[in-house]
Each structure stands twice: as C-alpha cells, then as structure tokens.
C-alpha cells in the first residue's frame, strides 16, 4: 500500500464541506458548542475563502422572504416552492428554512456583504424573492465569519472526504485524504453535518474541448454529499429531480436579471414568443401549468418543444428589452443616458460577479445587448437540491412544524437529521426542500448545527470504531495509487493500459451512459424504461471497473474518488426515474413511455441502499400539506 501517515482527529461535531451550508453550520455550532463544552471541526476539499458554488461570487441572493417588513408570509414561500416543483415538496422543510433565511441575510449584511438599497433604505429586489448584491466577495465574507467563529485550528482545508465512518447503524465521522501531503485522515465525531454540495459532470456537458469545465454548476462539486449519505444507509429522496437551467448559451451566464429586472422576452429563430404561442401546452400539466410564475421546468419544456421542432436558435431579446426601457424615457434624453449607463453596468456586473466566462464570450463576439439579441439554451442536467432541483437525503422536519398527519412521516427527533442517526444534511445535501439557494442553504446549515449539538448532548457516548475497518477503508481509498505504481512501466502511454482506467476516461464513460440513456442533452432530455434499463446494464460494468481506477498522484486520487461519487449519484438517479412511472417535470426529463403526469405519483419517490445486502429499496412516501396552518 502507498505510504501514507494516518492522522486521527477526535471531535464532537464534524462539518464536512465548506460552502454556504457549512459556513452557516460553523457559525451556529460554535455558539452552542461553547455553551456545552464541545468541539467543532470543519473539513473542506478546497480553501474556505473560495470553495463551492459561490467560489466566484454571486450577483443576487435568491431567497429572502421579507418577514420583517411583512412583504411575504411563510405560506407564500411554501406555495411558490410547491408549485414550482409540481407538487413534490416537503412543506415542513421549506417553511423551516424560510423562517430563518432572513436572519442569515441580515447577518451577511452586518458581516460586510454589500446588498443594494433604494432611497428609503429598503433592499432592492430583482424579483419577488431575490435581492441584488455586489457579490464578488460573498463567499469570502461568509468564510470569514465561519473562521472567526471556529478558529483556523478547527478547520482542515484541502482534505477530500471520501467515506462515512460508521459505528453500527450510527454515523460517527468520516475518512478522507489530504490532496497536499500523503496523509490519510480519520475524523471521529458524535455527529456529522453533511454539506458537500451537489453534482456536475454526471451527464455529458455540451462543451467538449477546453470548455468542458464550463458547466453551469462548478466542476469541483462531484456528488460527495449524495455518496456519503447513500453509503451510510440514509433514505434518499427526489433523486429523479435533477435541474436543467436555461442560461445564455455556452458560457451559461445568468438570465435572471434579463428576465426579471429588464423584463426581456425569449423568442425562437422566427421571432415567436413560445410562452404565448405554446400556452395551450400548459393545460397538459394542470394544476401547475396555470400557476404564476410558470414553473421553471415548464418554461424549459415550452422552449424544448421549439428546439425539437428545429425552430432554434432561441434568443433572449436584450435589444428589445432595452428599447422598451428607452421608450419610457423618450422625452428626457439626459435621464435616458443615465438609465442606460446604469443598466449597462448592472448587466455586466451580473456576469462579472458570477459567470465571468459570459463576459468573455460577449466581448469575444462584440455583443452590444442594446443592438443584438443573444442565444440562450438548456444546459445539461445537474444535481442541486438547493436550487430548482430537489435531490438529497430524506431528513426530519422540526417538531413544531408538524401536524397530526405529518408527524408520523416527517418527524423523527432532530431537525434536518437524516434517517441514519448522527447525520444532518443541509443545502444540496438535503432533499425535497428546493429553492433555498445560497441564503437558505446557509440558514439550513444553522438549523442542522443547532440540532446536531442537541443530539450530541443527548447522545454523549464516544464513537466506537473497529481499527480493522479503518485499515480496510485506507487500503480501498489508496488503491488507485497502488494500481498505477504496479502497472505503470508496461505501456508506452500511461493513460492507456489494459489493467486500469484513468479517472478522466472513467468520467467520459459515465457521461456517455447518462447522456444517451438517462436523458442528457444529446437525447433531448428524453428517456424511457427500456433506455434506462439498458443504461443500468452499462453502468454495472462501469461499477465493476471502478475497482480499476488508477491515479499517479494525489490530485488524480481525488479525481478517482470524485468520479466514484458521481457514479453513485448516477445510479440513484436512474433507479428513481425508472421507479416513477410518469412524467412530472417535462422540462427536466421526459419519460417517453409514460408521457403524462399521474395522480398516483403525487408522492415522493425515495430510495435506500442497504449496506448489508448491497440491494436498493425503492419506496413511496406520502405528501402532506401544512401550508394552510402557516
């Protein structure tokens, strides 16, 4: 076995991940841990300042309810999320996050995040729930608060978390390795907050060359949350509910400001506004086809219908939106000039704060948005339960948000705890509670941290881990390095070898399977039972070959494990699309053999991987409402 030192770190609460949810968890946990004499440790695969989906920055906070000023109620938010997800939503979880999210946003502002204000000192909204920010340093600022709360001594950067550590059916920590030094880490804890984000590159991206990394979702989140929770035996939910964003084509720049702030339309190559001309199609998806705003996946779907008929390119009519704004100022050229300057700056900042590639692309194509329209397109599918997808672990709601009906199904003791004792999930790691975005993920991290400290106080027993199990984990995790060492001198090309596969090729094979059989870009997001079964068959070979992944260094070792994590996310996805025999989110995926929405499937489709047998169990869970009690 490769020569790695084993370092053991004993703590009370372990936070795995360092993004929005984890930085929220850190701040909250530090407070309650100090009161109870407990220790908190955070582990991130990257540098906390710039890790996760917000590494580049963001230009908006997408969840702010405005409870303080009575702008909206919790019920309003729950209704919005349920409708956008075509009815499949845990209302107790959405309400749980929504009642704390404003407090997270107010903290961000105190910490130094510039949130736009109007003349009356009120936040400037991009849309009903969205606030405009100067967010280049959004992540840096949240990381700073987390570091100040925990202290750098309790934060491990550049450690890749590979596997959960179990004590029977309880989770008691995690193992991983440093991507800088030959160190194998064993973190022993009494509870774990899982916050390692969602997954990208499970499906083949549209770009194939240098642009491969320019997925909408950042290439460094590789399904570690899903893997960690599946492998520890957690019940998972909404594994079929992937997210497909429609964004500016290729560079995936945000469209929110154009649609919401500048009121732009999108049209086909022949100038058709498909949201109007295809309006009748919405009748097929009632009652959700009739709600306002039209659910994200249905907006996608109307556009996809055009594309499938060869009626592209699809354009964002930036030139028209700006002309409409100009029209309002036609009698005041000076005010118009000022307004245009403002709009130009807002439009470019939207890109520069969170998708700099789009600024490069516009500059490279000499795009002046007031003169020319810009192409938009549906991206490849991603797993991001915090956004408009819903995949993640099945977690308990808080006790005070249960009704007589929900209590038996949605509540088992600690807020946002998974079905495996000791595991708490936040952000992309927890499912059926979409539309939390950056701010709600932070709030959910806080909820988890407080509940986890309560769990630790109630369950103070020390973790009991068999050293032989740890040694086995170490050998398994380091195996790709051994395999490379053993065989490397045989072939003229170290990437091409009959005995092993390098992580990048492994990833390409996974992406090809998912793209062609599970409804990726090249299959126009369509699939069916026979296709999924075929995909599952091919995935089985890939799973076998995952034992033959080889790595020449620590960086590649991380790439090997990232792709194993992706592969498990892929399997949960295929199995759940197969299980749900209907089409409910046509603009996320379309099951051609069951093309309609069915009342029988107004349920959660959940799954559990049983570690004793290696079998998957699929199960339905009922949907109960609490919204009229909010």
């Amino acid at each position: 076995m490769a020569n790695f030192e084993t370092k053991e770190v004993s703590t009370d609460l372990l936070i795995v991940g360092g993004g929005m949810a984890a930085t929220g968890a850190a701040v909250e946990a530090a407070y309650w841990a100090e009161k109870n004499g407990l220790k908190v440790t955070l582990v991130d695969k990257a540098a906390l300042d710039r890790s996760g989906a917000v590494a580049m920055g963001l230009s908006a906070i997408n969840q702010y309810v405005g409870l303080r000023d009575g702008e909206n109620t919790l019920k309003d938010y729950v209704d919005y999320v349920r409708n956008d997800l075509m009815g499949i939503t845990r209302e107790d979880l959405v309400a749980s996050i929504a009642r704390h999210v404003d407090s997270s946003v107010h903290l961000f502002e105190k910490w130094g995040l510039p949130i736009w204000k109007d003349e009356d000192g009120k936040y400037v909204h991009e849309g009903r729930w969205q606030l405009m920010i100067n967010g280049e340093s959004y992540k840096v600022i949240l990381a700073e608060a987390a570091k100040n709360a925990l202290g750098m001594d309790n934060i491990y950067e550049r450690v890749f978390i590979t596997e959960p550590l179990m004590d029977g059916d309880k989770c008691v920590g995690a193992v991983g390795f440093s991507v800088r030094d030959n160190i194998f880490y064993v973190f022993k804890a009494k509870a774990v907050v899982v916050a390692m984000g969602g997954a990208v590159h499970v499906f083949k991206p549209r770009s194939s060359g240098e642009g491969l990394g320019r997925a909408w979702y950042p290439p460094w989140n590789s399904g570690s949350s899903a893997y960690f929770t599946i492998k520890s035996g957690c019940e998972m939910t909404c594994q079929e509910v992937r997210f497909i964003p429609v964004r500016f084509k290729d560079a995936y720049g945000p469209v929110g400001a154009w649609f919401l702030l500048f009121k732009s339309r999108a049209t086909t190559g022949t100038d058709e506004n498909y949201m109007l001309t295809r309006r009748d199609e919405l009748e097929n998806w009632l009652p959700y086809g009739k709600v306002k705003p039209v659910p994200a996946n249905l907006r996608n779907w109307l556009m996809m219908l055009e594309v499938m008929e060869g009626k592209g390119p699809i354009y964002m009519r930036t030139e028209e939106a700006i002309a409409n704004i100009a029209d309002k100022f036609k009698d005041d050229p000076k005010a118009f000039k000022k307004k245009m300057k403002e709009l130009e700056s807002e439009a470019w900042e939207d890109f520069l704060d969170m998708t700099i590639s789009q600024a490069i692309l516009w500059a490279g194509m000499n795009v002046a948005p007031e003169e020319s329209k810009s192409e938009i397109a549906a991206a490849e599918p991603y797993f991001i339960g915090s956004h408009s997808g819903a995949s993640g672990a099945w977690v308990s709601g808080p006790e005070d948000l249960q009704t007589g009906e929900t209590r038996d199904e949605y509540f088992w003791g600690y807020a946002h705890m998974a079905t495996v004792p000791g595991i708490f999930c936040a952000g992309d790691a927890s499912g059926a509670s979409s539309h939390k975005f950056s701010s709600g993920s932070h709030a959910e991290g806080r909820i988890c941290a407080k509940a986890a400290i309560a769990y630790i106080v109630d369950n103070p027993g020390e973790p009991n881990v068999d050293p032989a199990v740890v040694e086995d984990l170490k050998a398994t995790i380091l195996k790709p390095l051994d395999l490379f060492e053993q065989h490397k001198d045989y072939s003229s090309d170290p990437d091409i070898h009959p005995e092993y596969i390098v992580p990048k090729m492994f990833m390409f094979r996974l992406q090809k399977i998912m793209d062609e059989y599970a409804g990726g870009v090249s299959s126009q997001f369509k699939t069916s039972k026979p296709l999924l079964e075929r995909g599952m068959h091919l995935l089985t070979f890939l799973k076998e070959d995952s034992e033959k992944l080889a790595a020449r260094d620590l960086h590649e070792l991380m790439r090997c494990w990232e792709n194993i994590h992706r592969m498990w996310q892929a399997e949960a996805h295929i199995r759940t699309i197969l299980f749900r025999e209907e089409t409910r989110w046509p603009g996320y995926y379309f099951r051609a053999d069951t093309p309609k929405m069915s009342k029988d499937w107004e349920v959660f489709a959940n799954c559990i991987w049983h570690k004793d047998t290696g079998e998957w169990e699929m199960l339905k869970r009922p949907i109960y409402h609490i919204h009229d009690k909010l």
Partner: protein, 146 residues
C-alpha cells in the same frame, strides 16, 4: 486554455511558503513546476474560469484566454481587486473597452463578527430559535404553525 500563467511574470511566489494560486484554486488545478519555479494549470479543461487565481496572483501573472471551443479569439477580461472594490476592464475583440468599478465589501477585512452585534433570545438547545434570533430576523419571535 482557460487560465494560463505568463512565464515571464510568475516568480513562483518566492516570498511565500505556498504559492497563492495553488492555495486558492477550488479545483486544485494550479501547481508549481519545481524545476522551473513557475506555476501552470494542470488541466485547463476542468477550469471554471472562476478567476480566483487571477485575482490572487501578486504579480498579475495569471490570465484567462476564453475557452477556444466556443469563444472567438481577441477578448480580455481583467480584474484589479483591492480590499473593498474591484475594477474590471473588458476588452472586446473589436477593441472596444469598457471599465466597471464595483464595491465588494462594506467592512474591514477580517472583521466579520459572527453574531453581527445581535443577542440570542434563548438558552434552550431544543428550541428552533437560532443563534442571534429572533433579534437578527427583525421579528418578535420565530414563526411556527398557527
């Protein structure tokens, strides 16, 4: 080649114990070539063009050349980040120049106080009221089911 290092400008972060670009890249892409003492991007096709390496490099040695598989040659987008502002220069393929200047934070670097100056309304570990709440929420109490 998304991010790349201008060899002439990179000094391998001589003064520091670890190189700035390697420290920050969220995808572990930038590494130092020990022989030449110059950094390089080891896998440009996994680069997100997040610009964190560009923003952090003390010698402005890292630049981004838009993904060649869909970006025409010629543009340049260049940041200059200080402790409280960022200035962007956007150069078009046709030579047009635009400059933007945005604030990035309102407090002094390093000074984010976790409680934001708010007090916590409960000592009860079992209550849903979180650290700094309900004060920080701006509410008399945290809402629950009616």
């Amino acid at each position: 080649m998304p991010s790349f290092v201008i060899l002439e400008k990179c000094d391998g972060c001589k003064a520091l114990d670890k190189t700035a670009c390697q420290y920050i890249c969220p995808n572990d892409l930038l590494v130092l070539n020990k022989e030449t003492e110059k950094a390089y991007n080891r896998d440009p096709s996994m680069c997100w063009e997040c610009y964190n390496c560009v923003k952090i490099c003390p010698t402005q040695a890292v630049e981004v050349r838009g993904y060649a598989d869909f970006v025409p040659l010629g543009p340049a987008v260049t940041p200059l980040r200080s402790t409280d502002r960022i200035i962007w220069t956007v150069k078009f393929r046709n030579g047009t120049l635009k400059r933007f200047n945005f604030p990035i934070r309102t407090t002094e670097e390093g000074k984010a106080v976790p409680d934001g100056g708010w007090s916590t309304g409960t000592e009860d570990l079992k209550s849903p009221v979180l650290f700094t709440e309900p004060d920080s929420a701006g509410l008399p109490e945290i809402p629950t089911l009616k």
